[in-house]
């Protein structure tokens, strides 16, 4: 009879724990240590000082981000207020011919009332309660929309984390990805 | 003040005019060159092929030859680089010879380095009305960091048109025994280098290393191309004689 999953994983873990000792010991003895030794000091951690003090001001960050994003082949627009968002997003999605939209389960996105401004689209909200359905919806949606956790001006990147309300699939599976970046979350590096 | 010449095996056997050019050129600055005759070869051919015992036998003659010199000058970035970069490794298990290697490291200079860094000379007063292109040898540039010195010296040569060599930093394919062992690959590399030289339409190809110049020059001759191949010392000396 086939092993249950738990039994399988436990067996593998047992093997692995046994091997870990030998594996690490091999490394330590080759490095000339009898045992692991204490926590090593890592004085030159991270980027050099001249870099960690590098900062662009607010305006420069926005311009730099947009330049980089465009250079990488993306589209970007700058809006003065949140109020402008629904109109711009609606226009964009219509221009791109999107027929379906999936959004993260974020209150800021709910406030934008996509269902109302784009009634002709099929709308889904990411829900961790029904993962199978959510995945299918994401894989079939033309567009995914999320609010970025952060953005980085120097490289032109948006930073997304995942959680119960923020599925990885929303920013991954649809052909179109729209990230809303609150400017105050835009860092230099 | 003992300034000695490390002629290198290639220049000794194949290109005596280079040694002569160096001797006469440096004499103009009051530098009397010594030639300790026990020197044979820096040992690089054996060292690079992995034969370190054999390399040591040769390298010992170099350590002995220049033991009491204050400065040593070599017409080769490759041989000079061998001493700077690898002698300490070669002799790491011999405290006495290791010490000699470290001392030699401090006193040995490639030719253009000596002129510029030691003598402080950038204009030898040469006149050389020809179209010239320069090949920067790999060991000289990458191991010894020789980039400015030859350019400074050449920039002051009157009448000379220095044309940049396309893809100059690409290796010419010599690599010592590599040229024999992997002759097909080396051949492809030198053909490419010759191609770039010919693109410049230069009359003269100048460099700091006879290994490279023997390689590129040999291929150009093989192709029947009349490009003249010179070591920088030869070019500068001829330029000074012309005046």
């Amino acid at each position: 009879m086939a092993e249950s999953n738990l039994a399988f994983l436990n067996r593998l873990e047992g093997d692995s724990r046994k091997q870990q000792q030998a594996f690490i010991q091999n490394i330590a003895s080759r490095l000339g240590r009898l045992n692991e030794g204490g926590i090593p000091e890592h004085p030159l951690k991270g980027a050099p000082d001249f870099w960690t003090s590098y900062e662009l001001d607010y305006e420069e960050r926005i311009l730099r981000f947009m330049d980089n994003w465009r250079a990488a082949g993306g589209f970007t627009e700058r809006l003065a207020t949140y109020d402008e968002l629904p109109v711009v997003i609606a226009r964009t999605l219509r221009e791109l011919g999107a027929q379906s939209l999936i959004r993260q389960n974020q209150p800021e996105l709910a406030q934008l009332e996509f269902e109302r401004i784009l009634p002709e689209l099929q709308h889904t909200v990411w829900s961790a309660d029904k993962p199978q359905q959510a995945l299918v919806a994401a894989s079939q949606a033309d567009a995914g929309i999320a609010i970025a956790d952060y953005a980085v001006a120097y490289t032109g990147s948006v930073v997304m984390t995942s959680s119960k309300d923020k599925g990885r699939s929303v920013t991954l599976l649809p052909n179109i990805f729209i990230a809303i970046v609150p400017a105050e979350r835009l860092k230099t590096r | 003040m003992k300034v000695s010449l490390f002629i290198t095996c290639i220049s000794d056997a194949l290109f005596p005019p280079i040694g002569e050019a160096m001797t006469r050129l440096l004499a103009r600055y009051g530098v009397k060159l010594h030639f300790p005759e026990v020197q044979t070869c820096c040992g690089q051919p054996a060292f690079n092929s992995g034969y370190w015992d054999e390399a040591r036998a040769s390298a010992k003659t170099i350590l002995e030859a220049f033991e009491d010199s204050d400065f040593v000058i070599a017409p080769s970035g490759s041989c000079t680089g061998m001493i700077h970069h690898y002698y300490p490794k070669l002799f790491e298990n011999d405290p006495i010879l290791l010490e000699k290697s470290l001392q030699l490291q401090e006193k040995i200079f490639e030719f253009s380095q000596f002129l510029v860094q030691v003598l402080g000379v950038t204009d030898v007063g040469a006149v050389f009305p020809h179209k010239v292109t320069y090949h920067p040898s790999c060991h000289g540039t990458r191991l010894l960091g020789i980039k400015e010195e030859p350019m400074l010296l050449m920039s002051h040569v009157k009448g000379m048109e220095l044309v940049p060599l396309p893809y100059a930093e690409d290796c010419c394919g010599f690599g010592g025994t590599f040229a024999i062992k992997m002759s097909n690959i080396s051949g492809a590399m030198v053909e490419e280098k010759s191609q770039h030289v010919l693109e410049t339409e230069a009359e003269v190809l100048v460099g700091l290393d006879m290994g490279c110049l023997l390689n590129i020059g040999g291929n150009l001759k093989f192709q029947g191309k009349p490009v003249r191949v010179m070591h920088l010392a030869e070019l500068l000396y001829e330029g000074v004689k012309l005046k």
């Binding site: 999953n5 991270g46 995945l135 | 370190w52 010592g176 690959i185 051949g187 590399m189 291929n219």
Partner: protein, 500 residues
């Protein structure tokens, strides 16, 4: 999957050198990548400082690999990751297959991983009838061609778009034009289904972050995200040395790697994965495994000549800088890895130098690889050390050993050396015509097939020295006092321990 015929680099390169398509394709792309790197690093500035920092961080990590690997493993386990150990390549394949079998997997979709190539994972899956599909476009193309990758970053570098169009057309069952957009579009559509249906997602790992047990993946296509998001089970293969201590250190790697590999400021995606999906998450794999691979890496630890080899961040910059690689392409090299890093790594991972082939000889030691390396690995030195190992182990040709013994005898004594030169001056008369030697006999052949050798002058420099120095001494000016002072000062600085 096999490499072209020929049991040595020399033989395989013979084939490559005659393949114009190959040479053109490789030249074109390596030059583009090399120039991209130069432009990106110049724009960013302070590149030497970044390289030094990168080197120090990686060297520190390797010097304390026992601590950091252990920290990584414990943190990963704490996040629910199942960690496994593969002392050898076959162990990695065995464990991955066991996981697949247990889950009754029918298909695996994988993102780019050189370690997966090293352990021949696709063959292992295929032996059991499990489909394993490459999702990186370059890897997908060569999988269709049944070839191994020929470059660490651009696996299909040796193919031009006409060849690619041909391969994809066969797969599509219709003729596709050799246009990038169309070809990529076809692959994208084909792979989409694979992502959504695969039972297992297999990824590599650019960096493991010890402080959190996270796996960081750099990619441009989004396929690694797909592979690590959709399938229920994820297996990540990680070389045991691919670690950095902290997220702060990742900033340095993220600065060095993309610029060195392709000239980008950052890859399109950089993913940080810390464990499988959490209880409350709606997606991500339910089960995540990391297989840590040794396969000869630990042999480098404690070896002062080769420990730095483990600093490598697999950026491929050395391949793009190497004139030899550019001429012979990746398939001329034995083993999984090509270019300068491959020329050192493939032998170094195998402690039996008798099996090393001649790959360490396929280098002119120009040092371009060292210059290009973002973490300053002295690959050009390591190639010489490998050659030395082979000699010390007695695995070189007798003819060569004899020649070197001859070299030793001649060069130990200037008298013998001078005699030899004299003999050459006399003996060459048989071969010299019009001042050059063209003969392609015997040992000369490799040289004279491409070059003429100048005749040895009748008198060597040292034979001329006495007359020359006497003449020069008689007429030379004396050294100016400024020059004298200058030289004396230099010598003085030296004796105090100063360096020029």
């Amino acid at each position: 999957m096999s490499k072209p015929q020929g049991s040595s680099v020399k033989q395989r390169s013979e084939t490559a050198l005659k393949d114009e398509f190959l040479i053109d394709a490789v030249k074109f792309t390596t030059e583009k990548l090399k120039n991209g790197k130069l432009a990106a690093t110049a724009e960013h500035g302070n590149w030497e400082e970044w390289r030094e920092r990168g080197k120090l961080i990686r060297a520190h990590t390797i010097a304390h690999l026992d601590f950091y690997l252990n920290q990584f493993i414990e943190n990963a386990r704490a996040q629910g990751v199942h960690v496994h150990f593969a002392p050898e390549a076959k162990d990695a394949a065995r464990i991955a297959v066991e996981i697949a079998k247990h889950h009754q997997a029918k298909s695996v979709v994988k993102s780019k991983s050189m370690v997966s190539e090293e352990v021949h994972i696709n063959e292992a899956f295929e032996e059991l009838g499990i489909e394993s599909v490459e999702s990186d476009l370059g890897e997908y193309i060569i999988q269709l061609a049944n070839e191994p990758p020929s470059h660490i970053i651009i696996p299909a570098i040796h193919k031009n778009r006409y060849q690619i169009a041909e391969l994809l057309s066969k797969e599509a069952g219709q003729t596709l034009p050799p246009e990038t957009k169309v070809l990529a579009g076809f692959a994208r559509q084909k792979l989409r289904d694979k992502f959504l249906e695969a039972d297992i997602g297999l990824t590599g790992c650019n960096f493991g972050i010890a402080e959190s047990g996270s796996v960081v993946i750099f990619e441009n296509e989004g396929n690694a995200r797909m592979v690590s998001t959709v399938p229920k089970t994820q297996i990540t293969l990680m070389g045991m040395e691919r670690l950095i201590p902290t997220w702060d250190d990742l900033e340095v790697m993220a600065t060095l790697l993309p610029r060195s590999a392709t000239g980008q400021k950052l890859t399109v995606y950089m993913s940080g994965i810390t464990g499988p999906r959490r209880q409350s998450d709606g997606d991500g794999p339910e089960e995540m495994h990391i297989i840590i691979v040794d396969n000869g890496r630990s042999l480098q630890l404690g070896d002062p000549d080769f420990q730095e080899l483990l600093n490598c961040i697999r950026c491929g910059a050395c391949l793009n800088a190497c004139p030899v690689y550019r001429h012979i392409g990746g398939h001329s090299y034995p083993g999984t890895y090509s270019g300068p890093i491959g020329a050192v790594l493939t032998p170094a991972l195998n402690k039996n130098s008798g099996e090393w082939e001649d790959v360490a000889n396929a280098s002119s030691l120009c040092g371009a690889c060292y210059e290009a390396c973002p973490v300053k690995i002295p690959l050009h030195d390591m190639l010489v050390y490998l050659r030395n190992r082979k000699v010390e182990d007695g695995h070189t040709a007798t003819g060569e050993k004899m020649a070197m013994k001859g070299f030793k005898v001649l060069m130990s004594s200037y008298k013998l050396y001078s005699k030899a030169v004299k003999m050459g001056q006399v003996g060459q008369k048989l071969l010299v015509r019009n001042g050059v030697i063209k003969s392609q006999l015997g040992p000369l052949k490799g040289w004279t097939a491409y070059r003429h050798i100048p005749a040895l002058p009748t008198r060597s420099f040292r034979e001329q020295w006495k007359a020359l120095s006497t003449e020069v001494e008689a007429s030379m000016p004396s050294m100016s006092s400024e020059t004298k002072t200058r030289l004396e000062q230099m010598v003085l600085n030296r004796k105090k321990g100063g360096h020029e």
